[in-house]
Amino acid sequence: MTASIATNQTILVVGGGIAGMTAALEAAECGKQVILAEKTPTLGGRTSLLYRYFPKMCHPTCGLEINLRRLRGNPNVRVMTMTEVAAVTGSRGNYAVTLKVKPRYVTENCTACGDCGNAVSAEIPNPANYGMDKIKAAYLPHGMAYPQRFVIDPSIAATPEGEKAKAACKVDAVDLGMQEETLELTVGSVVWATGWRPYDANKIQPYGYDRYANVITSLEFERLADPRGPTGGKLLRPSDGKEAKNIAFIQCAGSRDENHLRHCSRICCMATLKQTQYVREALGDAGKSTIYYIDIRAIDRFEDFYQNVQKDATVSFIKSKVARIALNEENNSPILHGVDTEGYHRYASEHDLVVLAVGMEPEVTGVKLPDDIILDSSNFIEGSKTEGMFGAGSASSPLDVNRSVQSATAAAMRAVQVIHKTASTEAA
């Protein structure tokens, strides 16, 4: 990569998920210079780890592919992966940014042939499957990864395993001497598209995610349903590898709860309605989904999706927030205890597998942000005091893909205005 040429006419987009990609592209297609900084080795963010996405149940490939094509064709965007923002100072129109770039140990020469991966034997927990399976320590993050370039895990870089990878590479793309780099840039505006992370399910003590193998999160369930996931698309119980037929979904796991996240995460009702259809797809009429909920929030035009799922005889709805989960010690099946609100019936219901519809919390929770940034009471980014930095996508509010894209477009337009105004004041 050549020396940085960012100026106060450049827009920095932090985070390369669907929102960050969109913001970068919208601004770039208006002719602005953009740096898109992503901390992991690939663009795509959490959308690329979904099996299918509502409302149209398409695979994430379709949405991402279009954006990647736009990206390849646009010289105004400079993509930097494995890059994190360490500090931002300054104000609207003039920010000094410090970026930290971690070593990938693989250069742009990589053709993604996979020889290095075949050569090494060390394995690491697979980040694309939330560690539910393992991959080689020289790997491509996932099939849709952009750039299509391998990564060598730092745990093997300085070992004989690293040397094996280097020896196997025919185009000499492995560079084990790479070091972490720090870059200083000037930019005019910053779009924070840092996205979300799942609420830590271990903190929801009565549900026993930390104790029971067959209590998993909705994110893990996406991976179980995916043919590229750890079970090849089969809905298997982690405890014994048997097929899970009778599956419970617990809504608001960590959301709408003053003890956990106080906001409604907004997408998890839809995510669960969608996931009941994975059960149907995998098992037909033999599968059974039970949704335990406070109320179903199928935001605006998704009401019809909800109605269709209601018509599905394999799906039942129980209006109740589950109080606690116990374990049937004989078969490791979770037993859900609670009282349903429609009639106040007490239940103790056994299921093969429990999926916690965990809430979305901003990825920047606990991260030191510039003082200028304004956060809401749940740490979502509302904007900045001098109005030169903006939140986009799920970093700004719990949003689905469609709304993340809308929000990112709006943020890009605001960033473009900042650049325009900076340019015109300087010209005057």
Binding site: P206, C252, R256, D257, E258, N259, H260, I294, S320, K321, V322, A323, R324, H337, G338, V339, D340, T341, Y344, R346
Partner: protein, 206 residues
């Protein structure tokens, strides 16, 4: 003379929620309940009493005044606080339950002969009289509340516990004769009378 209950009925008409908000400790929280059911499912006694907190709060909002105030459920609460720590809306459920019990008692509507109510009353009578609870008299009063014969049976059944407490210095057999009180019992009585007067005025129970 009208009773406190008749006054309350006249004042709040059919708006029982409003009545609870004005007169029950922490009663203003009741409207915050979102009927999720976590409290009902978390109560260790849940299966054994008729009205869970969730149900009580819905009944209050539905104006089921008699049913709520005459319920013995509030008296079954052991103050384990399971519901309260788990409630996603942070309702001080345990306190509301005790507040309701107290209000029902003050109106004379609480179920007669409810054992926990009887114990609570003995406890408070002792505390108010002596400025502290006389453990021995309190225990004996409890044993003998269903008559002499049952009292002896109860005392025998609890013998080992009682002896254990004596050994541990937690129960002094001499208390039956003198029973030490606090230094200024009449001062305590005055304080309590004043506190009650203020509270009753505020809650419309005067």
């Amino acid at each position: 003379m009208t009773t406190a209950n008749e006054n309350a009925v006249a004042k709040y008409k059919n708006n029982f929620l409003k009545e609870v908000e004005a007169t029950v400790e922490e009663g203003h929280w009741v409207k915050m309940c979102m009927q999720c059911g976590v409290c009902a499912g978390s109560c260790p006694f849940g299966p054994h009493w008729e009205h869970s907190p969730q149900k009580i709060f819905m009944m209050i909002r539905a104006g089921k005044r008699e049913e709520v105030l005459k319920s013995d459920s509030m008296w079954m609460c052991t103050s384990c606080y399971n519901c309260m720590v788990r409630c996603p809306r942070e309702l001080p459920i345990t306190h509301i339950m005790h507040g309701l019990a107290n209000y029902a008692y003050r109106l004379g509507l609480s179920p007669k002969g409810q054992p926990n109510q009887a114990i609570a009353k003995l406890f408070w009578d002792s505390a108010l009289k002596y400025g502290r609870v006389n453990e021995l008299k309190f225990s004996l009063a409890m044993y003998f509340r269903d008559g002499f014969v049952q009292g002896v049976k109860n005392a025998l059944a609890m013998q080992s516990v009682g002896l254990g407490l004596v050994k541990a210095g937690r129960l002094n057999p001499m208390e039956i004769i003198s029973g030490h009180t606090c230094k200024d019992t009449s001062g305590i009585h005055k304080m309590i009378a004043k506190a009650r007067e203020i509270e009753d005025r505020r809650r419309g129970l005067a």
